[in-house]
Symmetry: C2
């Protein structure tokens, strides 16, 4: 019988954090690609555009004028998916027709006053300012809401409609679906094994090494064993930290530095401004914030769509939508490639 090799033989892997399986068929990278290629990146946006509602001094859809901010800038989304005062839909009349109330707020956070930068092109102290703003908004909205979802859609491919560097913050009165899954899994792991799932997972990856991308004094970046997107990564603190506001100043500085390295590697991989959706997950907040959430470990997920080049993405369609996620290179191969790309941004060149 042939010896099993993950890079040659398809197999399925389990995601214990989100309770899902992925089909890994690495031999599939060999097939030629004749499908859709993405439009090439537009030229960089101008540094300042008075008509861009995210720029300092610009007028927004609701008539408000942005301040001449020089760090980060947080404001209410003018077209929020969640509003604080939606009425209650009332009780459901049938188990197959269940509706529940949803209340919340949606905010937008600009990372920088300039439209022509992205996080990897910002300085470490500038990224540190973003991290502090993330911690502050988690604190502020977490006082009222059980879940504060910080996420960044980067690039037109990820539905991002504005080139200005920014992220969004949606806080909700309910625990969203994926938060619920992570809650269930981490809770179950803790009660079975007596330690947080992601603490043990980070520990194991440090021993096994093959999926590590970057390590620093306080942080790890790795391609998870169960990654679905080609170059998906997981960013984990080494210490047991439940939420962003708990990070120490040293951990925040170190996070800014490792984020800059990771995002530079991403841009360098295909020499493009690498598109992705990313977001933070930490212990639930709101009125239950004081409960025991020790099974939670703070982490960020990066989900980048590109597979082969700056213009050929992975399509999560058909089989993936109807049956199961499928990937075309192993997580170990992806980690290896990310490890070998330089940490100096291709647009900045060697000094």
């Amino acid at each position: 019988a042939t010896t099993f090799r993950a890079s040659e033989h398809q197999h399925i892997r389990y995601n214990p954090l989100q309770d899902e399986w992925v089909l890994v068929s690495a031999h599939r990278m060999k097939r030629p690609w004749q499908g859709q290629v993405e439009p090439p990146l537009l030229k960089t946006a101008p540094r300042h555009d008075p008509h861009n509602p995210l720029c300092p001094g610009a007028t927004r859809a609701n008539g408000e004028v942005n301040p001449y901010y020089d760090g980060t800038f947080l404001f209410d989304n003018d077209f929020p998916a969640l509003q604080p005062d939606a009425p209650n839909p009332g009780p459901s009349d049938h188990p197959l027709f269940q509706t529940e109330a949803a209340r919340g707020v949606c905010k937008v956070m600009c990372f920088h006053p300039w439209s022509d930068v992205t996080l990897p092109l910002m300085s470490v102290p500038e990224i540190r300012t973003v991290i502090d703003a993330w911690a502050a908004v988690t604190e502020e909205l977490g006082a009222r809401y059980p879940w504060v979802q910080i996420f960044e859609n980067k690039g037109a491919m990820m539905g991002c409609s504005n080139p200005h560097p920014h992220c969004q913050v949606w806080a909700s009165s309910f625990l969203p679906d994926i938060a619920q899954r992570e809650e269930r899994s981490q809770q179950a792991y803790q009660s079975q094994h007596g330690e947080p799932l992601l603490m043990e997972y980070g520990h194991q990856e440090l021993l096994r090494k093959e999926r590590l991308v970057l390590t620093s004094e306080h942080w790890l970046v790795l391609v998870p064993f169960w990654a679905v997107w080609p170059f998906q990564t997981l960013l984990l603190p080494r210490r047991h930290v439940r939420r962003l506001p708990e990070l120490t100043p040293a951990e925040r500085d170190d996070l800014a530095s490792i984020m800059k390295k990771l995002l530079t590697k991403y841009d360098n991989l295909f020499e493009t401004s690498f598109p992705y959706s990313m977001g933070w997950h930490g212990a639930p907040t709101g009125s239950e914030a004081g409960a025991n959430w020790d099974h939670w470990q703070l982490h960020a997920h990066y989900y980048p769509p590109l597979l082969r080049s700056a213009t050929v993405r992975k399509f999560m369609v058909g089989y993936e939508m109807l049956a199961q996620a499928q990937r075309d290179l192993t997580p170990e191969q992806a980690a290896e490639r990310l490890r070998t790309v330089p940490e100096v941004h291709y647009r900045l060149g060697q000094k």
Copy 2:
């Protein structure tokens, strides 16, 4: 207090079939769209292209020559994600690193010898031939594998790399993730309520009417109460049918006719060849096919990405990837729009 109106007030809805929640924020359709627009559709493909590996008489990547088929044509995918002989990965050494064996086959099915047609442009008897081929391949691969996933990726937006009308069939030695979820939900519903979940669901939708798109003697098409994609639909037989091969000749003819109507409406909605991924779900097959699967009801899911026009899609990114699916119009609004578009294809015109 304001009265709750689904079309104005955000709320969350539960998908009892796949155990997931969706955030419905219909007021969000009001926001302007400045993001990515999809490239316009290329002109229709030529009817016959000897270099297209899906055409009759063409030579495929492995050197085989296609027959001059004149109905459907089924063959092995030259770049399969699942192969019948992958070795077993062996036991896992840690609960966070679980791998399992995956074996299977991937096939491609051409619907028609011509590259310039799509299902809605084919005749009802031609579509009936496709349905018979679906039933036959389910029977054939279902003898060996517990899950036979038939799916169609239509359009470049859905990663479809060949304009020739075709679908894929991936049969696997494992029950894929979404099949497992539907199995759990239908099993639980049956044991709690004594009837199949989707039989009761179809029955309720016939009474409630507001989400129905099409009905015929043997079939229903509706926008599910918990739909995630803007114009997602669910196609259900009225009779309790567990798998495609069980369909009677009358049910197959009627299916061909309702599929033609649905897909014509889809094309007419934005006057474009409407992209989607679709697929069939029925009771598991393989060596356990003889067990009691009465809790299963055969159904097809249609997942089309377009939201506003032929070139503006819904992006399932950021919040959707990290927290929860979100939709921008209510399922009732989507059903209403689909009901009102004509059943005659815009390219065929009124006769």
